[in-house]
């Protein structure tokens, strides 16, 4: 049995709530829209790495499934109680969300999913965000700094407009490296270049962003002997663990691979435990694959 650098992320401390909340602020940030929601109960409970799930389209909607969006920031101070999300208009649901205006009400469930596990106080950490995925790392960066970690942040995107949270990360991180594929901001190229340079300084790595990026960061970390945690983005219908649509092959503590729900067993998984190459496939050694007629080669 291979040995793994990570333990599975633990469930969140508190259960989610479902609320109809008001939009307090809506502002464009590059290619995205940042929404601030008056959601004190979610703000109180949220931990970095968790997400919320929105109903979309209003009362007459034909779109039943919730849209999962990472929590980008919380202000849980007394009299505050706000949650911030960064939305990239993609299909109809996220486009609708990105069009919400101050005063609009949205139906949201959260906080959902398992938060990022934290290292021992003081362990230096590398945080890697791709596109809007960087937003989900801001809270983690603050928390790590507060616990005495040196925080090395890398944020990358296709172009400058798709970069996210550079200023926010700049305020809390010790180092912020910026990359864009087209070179329109920061260093030209992928985050992997910066990751390769910084991983040696880190005792733990975190990543949030598109799947190929997560895979690259996890591989780099594992190769360097550094434990990593990635927040995956799988297509989700419910966000709360009841539909089984959001699974991917993840190696458990017993060394067996299972189809794990990215909403309740993730979205944060040990980077060395996600079988990225097998996402979307059914490898024979997944528990229960034999009952599906898949045989060992």
């Amino acid at each position: 049995m291979t040995s793994y650098l990570t333990e599975p992320a633990a469930p969140a401390a508190q259960p989610p709530v479902q609320r109809e909340v008001a939009v307090l602020a809506a502002r464009p940030v590059g290619a995205y829209v940042e929404l601030t929601l008056a959601a004190p109960e979610i703000a109180d409970r949220a931990q970095p790495g968790q997400f919320v799930a929105f109903a979309v389209g209003g009362p007459m909607t034909a779109h039943l499934l919730r849209r999962s969006i990472a929590i980008a920031g919380v202000d849980a101070g007394p009299g505050a109680g706000t949650v911030t999300v960064v939305v990239a208009p993609h299909g109809p649901g996220s486009t609708w969300l990105a069009q919400r205006r101050v005063g609009d009400a949205v139906d949201v469930v959260g906080p959902l999913g398992r938060p990022f596990p934290l290292p021992d106080p003081g362990v230096p950490a590398l945080l890697v965000g791709g596109g809007y995925g960087a937003a989900a790392l801001v809270g983690l960066a603050s928390l790590l700094r507060a616990r005495g970690s040196r925080v090395l942040a890398v944020t990358g995107a296709a172009d400058a407009a798709r970069l996210c949270s550079v200023a926010e990360l700049g305020e809390v991180a010790d180092v912020v490296a910026v990359t864009t594929d087209d070179g329109s901001a920061g260093r030209p190229g992928r985050v992997t270049v910066a990751v390769a340079e910084l991983i040696g300084e880190a005792g733990i790595a975190y990543a949030c962003g598109p799947m190929p990026m997560l895979r690259a960061v996890a591989d780099a970390a594992t190769a360097a002997g550094v434990p990593s945690y990635v927040a995956v983005e799988e297509s989700m219908a419910c966000g709360i663990g009841v539909c089984m649509t959001c699974v991917l092959p993840v190696v458990g503590e017993d060394g067996l691979t299972r189809f794990s729900r990215s909403c309740t067993e993730g979205p944060v998984f040990g980077g060395d435990r996600v079988r990225f190459a097998d996402v979307g496939a059914l490898p024979w050694d997944v528990v229960g694959a034999d009952a599906m007629g898949v045989v060992a080669p």
């Binding site: 259960p15 479902q18 779109h63 499934l65 219908a237 539909c243 649509t245 699974v247 979307g280 059914l282």
Partner: protein, 312 residues
Amino acid sequence: MTALDTAVDMTTALGTAPLGSPVLTASGCSAFGQELEPFVDLAGLGAVVTKSVQLRPRSGRPTPRMAETPSGMLNSIGLQGPGIEGLLAGELPWLAQRGVPAFVSIAGTRVEDFAELAARLRGVPGVLGLEVNISCPNVESRGEVFACDPVAASEVVSAVRAAADPAQPVYAKLSPDVTDIVSVARAVSEAGADGLSMINTLLGLVIDPDTMKPVLGGVTGGLSGPAVRPVAVRCVWQVHAALPEVPILGMGGIRTGLDALQFVLAGASAVSVGTAVFHDPSATARVHRELAEALAARGFSSLREAVGYAHR
């Protein structure tokens, strides 16, 4: 939940098994209940209808497993689950401890599998009864699904009824993808089904405009949600008209109390809320409340009076 209720008597039954509420979860749409705990009082539900279990643990199909469709969704989970051992060791005791009745959905690819599952569930604490999923279109099988053939469907049901705990009612879950649902309903009733669950999903397909291939790895999938509700109500209506004495657990696109009322008026004595839970995790409790209010507003003093009322 009862405390919030109107004066309407909402008790009902699945065959001989009494239910405190006519609103249940739908198989495969609330897993084994645990995840709903933050949102609803599970013990206030009629029962948790568990995800269909088979003899062995199953991985289910590879992703993508779903596609959103207008007012519905297509799924192709492939019955991922822990297998009967896992269920008996984990989920059923969890529900029993909390006093949450379980209506256990069983599935298989051979008649004997169904019978063995039924035998394994005899006398298990908290198991109210069995829902026999003879109609799931997602699982690979050599030929037609059982539910599409009255003879094959009857064989499964009579084997299950023979093997099952006599105190556990056996409901056969029917597929709408048949030319004549009444003949299937009649066949399985005669084979010993204590009631009928209707409907399972409709066979559907979505092609991804980008890849230009079917979205789902399994090519076809099961269509559910409000989109299919008129088909479901029609099935309940037809079967209740033909077999008024056979109890029906109605489902298919129920999202509100008024949707549930349609099923009750058409002949269902209880309902399952499926896909709507993905939209609203507290949908089951809300549907119970709204149904109670709707019945009260229409002058019914009990749910039972309303069952099949549209036929009168």
